[in-house]
C-alpha cells in the first residue's frame, strides 16, 4: 500500500508541556481523513509540524514514500504538502492573484516574477474550481468568504499530494460549502490525500472516509467513518459522554424594562437595522458565520465602534454611547473575543486585572487606591470564579487559558454591569473551564443581569440561551426562542 503521508512517532513539547506524544498519522492517496480533536488537543501543532512550520522533538515524516527534512516549509511544499490554515494566512496588502501565485513562486524559487504568470495561474485555478474572484482586488478589501476561497486556490495552485484543511468552512455559507465539497471530490479523483479538520459533526460524517481522534496530544481512536456514531465520536473527543446540557431557567422579566434594548442601530458598511432586546435575567445568543457582522454589533454596543444610526437603551434609559467609557458608565460589560490581546494585561497581577474596570469601587473618594479593600475584593472574586491560583499577586500570564478567561469575566462582574456582552467566551478553553464559565453566566442571569452571548459554538448556545438571534451579512435574519433552540435548527439556519 502506498501512502501519501506517513508520520511516525511525532512528539513535541512546548516549555515542558507535552503537546503531542508519539503520534502516528497515515494518509492514503484519494482518501479524506478527518483529524478530530477538541481545542488544545494538538491538531494545530501536528499540522504545523507536518507542514514544516514547527520542528518536532522526535519522529519522522514521509511524503509519497520519501522522508522529508522537517522544519522546512519549502521542503514540505516541494514534496506536495499544502495547508489551508484556519486563519487563512493570506497577505492582506497583496492582490488576490499575487496571493494565489505566492506558493508557486516559493516552490519554483523564481527570482524575477511575472504579474502575467501570476494572473494566468490564478485564473486557471479559479476556473478549475468554478468560482468567481476579482484577481486585482487586494485581499484586505474582499469578504471573509472570498478570503477562504483565495486560501483554497493558493493551496491548489500547486501539485498537491497531501492537503490539510484546518476548519475550512467556518466562514462559508451552505452554497459555498457545497462547491468546496465538489472540489474535494475532484481532488479525491486526482489521488490527493486530504486531511480535514472540522468541529461540525455532520460535516465530518458527510465528507470523510476515515477519522483520527486526538485528545491531549495522543491518538485515542482511529477507524473508518462508518464505524463511528455521533455519540461515539463525541465520547472519543472529550473522553466522556456529556449529557444533554440545555439548562435554562425561565427568566422573570416581568414589567421591568429590558436590561438592554437596541433600536435600528447601524454602522456604515458594516451592519444596519439591528433591533433587539435582552431582558433582565435573560441570556440571548447572537450568532452568525465568521464575518457576518456579529462581533461588530457587539463592539458597537460597547462603544468601540460608535453607531451611526439607531439608539441603545440600558435598563429602559436611552444612552449615548460613543466610547468604551460611555458604555461602562451606562452599565455595559464586554468580554472580548481575543482574551489574550484585548481582555487582560498579561504581565500584571491577577488582582490588579480583576479590579481594573472597577477602580472606583476600591479607591477613596479622592481617587487613592485602598490596598486592603483591593486585596479583599479580588480575593472574593477569585474564590467565586474558582480561579486556580495560589496567589492573586502572580501575573495573569501564569494562568491557563481557561483561568485567564475567568479573570476577564471577573473583571466585568465586579463592575456590576446591567448587561454583560460576551464574544466567544469559551474559544480555546478546555471542557471543564467551559462548564464553569457557562455556569457563571447562568448565575449572572439569575442575579438579574442581561447577558448577550456572541458565539458560533452551537452546543454552547443551546446550553445557556433563552433565545438565539441570527446575523447574516450585517442584518438580523431570524430568531429562535425557548423550545426552538436546538442544535439542528441552529446549524441549519447558520449556513442557509
Amino acid at each position: 500500500m502506498s501512502f501519501a503521508l506517513r508520520a511516525r512517532g511525532i512528539s513535541k513539547s512546548f516549555g515542558g508541556v507535552k503537546a503531542l506524544t508519539d503520534v502516528d498519522l497515515d494518509v492514503v492517496p484519494g482518501e479524506v481523513l478527518c483529524l478530530a480533536g477538541a481545542n488544545g488537543s494538538g491538531k494545530s501543532t501536528l499540522i504545523k509540524i507536518i507542514s514544516g512550520v514547527e520542528t518536532p522533538d522526535s519522529g519522522t515524516i514521509e511524503i509519497d514514500g520519501e522522508e522529508i527534512v522537517t522544519s522546512s516549509v519549502a521542503a514540505a511544499v516541494q514534496r506536495g504538502v499544502q495547508v489551508i490554515f484556519q486563519d487563512m494566512s493570506l497577505f492582506p496588502n497583496l492582490t488576490v492573484a499575487e496571493n494565489i501565485a505566492m506558493s508557486e513562486r516559493v516552490k519554483d524559487g523564481v527570482k524575477v516574477i511575472s504579474g502575467k504568470r501570476a494572473r494566468s495561474l490564478a485564473k486557471s485555478v479559479i476556473e478549475r474550481l468554478g468560482i468567481d474572484l476579482d484577481l486585482e482586488a487586494r485581499v484586505e478589501n474582499i469578504s471573509v468568504a472570498d478570503r477562504q476561497l483565495v486560501a483554497i486556490c493558493r493551496a491548489l495552485a500547486l501539485d498537491v499530494k497531501v492537503l490539510f484543511m484546518d476548519e475550512p468552512t467556518t466562514a462559508l455559507t451552505w452554497h459555498e460549502i457545497e462547491s468546496l465539497r465538489q472540489v474535494v471530490e475532484q481532488l479525491k479523483k486526482e489521488q490527493v490525500g486530504i486531511v480535514f479538520v472540522s468541529h461540525k459533526t455532520e460535516e465530518v460524517f458527510a465528507m470523510s472516509d476515515r477519522i483520527v481522534v486526538l485528545r491531549n496530544g495522543v491518538v485515542v481512536r482511529t477507524g473508518a467513518t462508518a464505524d463511528f456514531t455521533e455519540n461515539s465520536l463525541v465520547e472519543a473527543l472529550v473522553g466522556y459522554l456529556p449529557e444533554d446540557q440545555r439548562r435554562v431557567e425561565i427568566s422573570d422579566t416581568g414589567e421591568e424594562p429590558p436590561a438592554l434594548s437596541v433600536e435600528g442601530i447601524g454602522v456604515e458598511s458594516l451592519f444596519a437595522d439591528v433591533s433587539f432586546a435582552v431582558g433582565r435575567g435573560e441570556i440571548v445568543g447572537l450568532t452568525g458565520l465568521l464575518g457576518s457582522g456579529r462581533s461588530e454589533i457587539a463592539e458597537a454596543i460597547f462603544g468601540k465602534l460608535p453607531i451611526d444610526t439607531g439608539t441603545i437603551a440600558v435598563g429602559g434609559e436611552t444612552k449615548t454611547i460613543r466610547s468604551v467609557a460611555d458604555a461602562i458608565t451606562a452599565g455595559i460589560g464586554y468580554v472580548p473575543e481575543d482574551r489574550l490581546t484585548q481582555g487582560v494585561v498579561l504581565g500584571q497581577s491577577i488582582e490588579r486585572n480583576l479590579v481594573s474596570a472597577a477602580l472606583g469601587k476600591v479607591s477613596s473618594s479622592a481617587g487613592v487606591l485602598k490596598e486592603r479593600l483591593l486585596a479583599e475584593t479580588s480575593r472574593a472574586s477569585v474564590a467565586e470564579l474558582q480561579i486556580k491560583t495560589d496567589n492573586a499577586a502572580l501575573p495573569v500570564s501564569s494562568l491557563s487559558g481557561g483561568n485567564q478567561q475567568r479573570v476577564v469575566l471577573g473583571k466585568w462582574m465586579l463592575t456590576d454591569p446591567k448587561v454583560l456582552i460576551l464574544n466567544g467566551p469559551t474559544v480555546g478553553v478546555d471542557a471543564g473551564s467551559k462548564a464553569t464559565i457557562l455556569e457563571i453566566l447562568r448565575d449572572a442571569a439569575r442575579s438579574g443581569m442581561g447577558v448577550l452571548l456572541i458565539s458560533d459554538d452551537v452546543p454552547e448556545l443551546v446550553s445557556v440561551c433563552h433565545r438565539v438571534l441570527f446575523v447574516r451579512r450585517g442584518r438580523l435574519a431570524g430568531e429562535l426562542a425557548h423550545d426552538e433552540v436546538a442544535e439542528p435548527a441552529i446549524r441549519e439556519r447558520l449556513v442557509r
Binding site: 494566512s89 523564481v110 478589501n141 451592519f271
Partner: protein
C-alpha cells in the same frame, strides 16, 4: 430611502470609484496634487521665486534625502523601522575620507565603493540583531545608531575636514546641467538609477515581493515558505549599503566632511518615506511615493527660504507638514484597513 438620496449616493459611489482608480496604490496622486498646489500658492504669493533655480534647489537639497530614503523604504515596507541609517551614512562618508587622507590616496569612484562596503558591514549589525535575535527593529537600530556614532567620534575622528581629496572634490564640482543659477550635480544620476533599480526590485523580483509579504503578515510569509530570516538579513544589508552610499553623496556634495552631520536629519527622511505612502505597520510603500515625499519636503524647505522665513521656523513648519502628511496616510490606511465591508454595496430596496 428617497430616489434623490439614492441618486446622489450612486454619483458619490461613481466618483469614489473613479478616485480609487486614479489615486494610486499609496495616494501618490494626492501627493502630486498637494505638490502642485503648493507650487501654485508660491506662484501667487511670491511669483518672483518661481524660477528654474528654485527647482534646481529642490533637486539639490532632495538628492541626499532620497539616497537615504531608499534603504529606509525597504525596511518600512517589511514592517520595521530604522533610525541607524544617518549614523551609518556619516560613518561611511567620514571614515572613507579619513582613510583616504591617512593613506594619502585619491580617487573619484572607488571611495563610493568603500563607503558602500562600510555601510554593508554596519548594516550587518542590524541584520544580526533583527533577524537572529528578533529584536524590535526600532530599539535595535536606536542602539546601533548610538554605538556607530560613538565609535566614529571616539576612534575615527571628530575634526572637521574642510578640504576633500582633489579628485573626489572634483566630483562635487561636476554638474550635468544648470537650472537657473543652480548647478545640478552629476551625483543625481546614480541616485536616480538606484531609485529605479530599487523600484524594479520591489515590483518585479521575488525578493521585493517577499518584503511586501513579510510586511503584510510575517507568520503567513513563514507558512508559505518564505525564509523570513534570509529576507530580513538581505534587507538590512542592502539598506546599510544604501546608507553608506548616501553618506558619501552627502559628503561630496557638501564638499567637506564633518562627523556631526546627517544624524539629526532622520526626521526629514522618515517623513519623506511615510508621506510617500509607506505605512509604519508595514506592507505598503513605493519608490514613486517616496520620491514625491522627498520632493514635498524639499519644496517646503526651499519655499520657506525663498519667502525669507527665519530658519528657526523651518523645523516647525516641516514638523507640521510631517504631521499633516502622516495623518492623511494613516487616515486613508485606517479607512481601508479597518474592516471588511459586510453589508452589500447596492441597496436594492430604494
Amino acid at each position: 430611502m428617497s430616489t434623490a438620496v439614492a441618486d446622489s449616493s450612486t454619483v458619490r459611489d461613481r466618483m469614489s470609484a473613479l478616485w480609487r482608480r486614479y489615486r494610486g496604490e499609496n495616494n501618490e496622486t494626492t501627493l502630486l496634487l498637494l505638490i502642485l498646489a503648493l507650487v501654485g500658492v508660491m506662484a501667487i504669493v511670491e511669483p518672483s521665486a518661481i524660477t528654474l533655480g528654485f527647482f534646481g534647489d529642490i533637486i539639490r537639497s532632495g538628492i541626499v534625502t532620497l539616497a537615504l530614503a531608499l534603504g529606509l523604504l525597504m525596511i518600512i515596507i517589511s514592517g520595521g523601522m530604522d533610525v541607524s541609517f544617518p549614523a551609518i551614512a556619516i560613518f561611511a562618508g567620514y571614515a572613507t575620507i579619513t582613510l583616504m587622507q591617512s593613506l594619502g590616496v585619491d580617487g573619484a569612484v572607488w571611495p563610493f565603493v568603500v563607503a558602500v562596503a562600510m555601510g554593508l558591514l554596519l548594516g550587518s549589525l542590524n541584520a544580526v540583531l533583527v533577524a537572529r535575535y528578533k529584536m524590535e527593529t526600532l530599539i535595535a537600530t536606536l542602539g546601533t545608531q548610538v554605538i556607530i556614532r560613538g565609535v566614529l567620534i571616539a576612534f575615527i575622528g571628530s575634526v572637521y575636514i574642510s578640504v576633500l581629496p582633489a579628485q573626489l572634490d572634483a566630483v562635487g564640482a561636476t554638474s550635468i546641467m544648470q537650472l537657473g543659477g543652480t548647478q545640478v550635480n552629476v551625483l543625481v544620476i546614480p541616485v536616480l538609477v538606484l531609485a529605479g533599480a530599487l523600484a524594479w526590485v520591489l515590483r518585479r523580483t521575488m525578493f521585493g515581493r517577499s518584503i511586501y509579504a513579510i510586511g503584510g503578515d510575517k507568520e503567513s510569509a513563514k507558512r508559505v515558505g518564505i525564509s523570513v530570516k534570509k529576507v530580513q538579513v538581505a534587507i538590512y544589508l542592502v539598506a546599510g549599503a544604501l546608507a553608506g552610499f548616501g553618506g558619501m553623496v552627502h559628503v561630496v556634495l557638501s564638499r567637506h566632511a564633518s562627523p556631526f552631520e546627517i544624524v539629526g536629519t532622520e526626521l526629514n527622511v522618515i517623513a519623506a518615506v511615510v508621506i510617500g505612502g509607506a505605512l509604519d505597520s508595514g506592507g505598503r510603500g513605493s519608490v514613486r511615493g517616496t520620491i514625491l515625499g522627498v520632493v514635498l519636503i524639499s519644496l517646503v524647505q526651499n519655499s520657506l527660504i525663498r519667502l525669507g522665513v527665519s530658519s528657526y521656523w523651518h523645523v516647525f513648519v516641516v514638523g507640521l507638514v510631517v504631521l499633516a502628511g502622516v495623518a492623511i496616510q494613516a487616515r486613508s490606511a485606517a479607512a481601508t484597513h479597518r474592516r471588511t465591508r459586510i453589508l452589500e454595496r447596492l441597496e436594492t430596496a430604494a
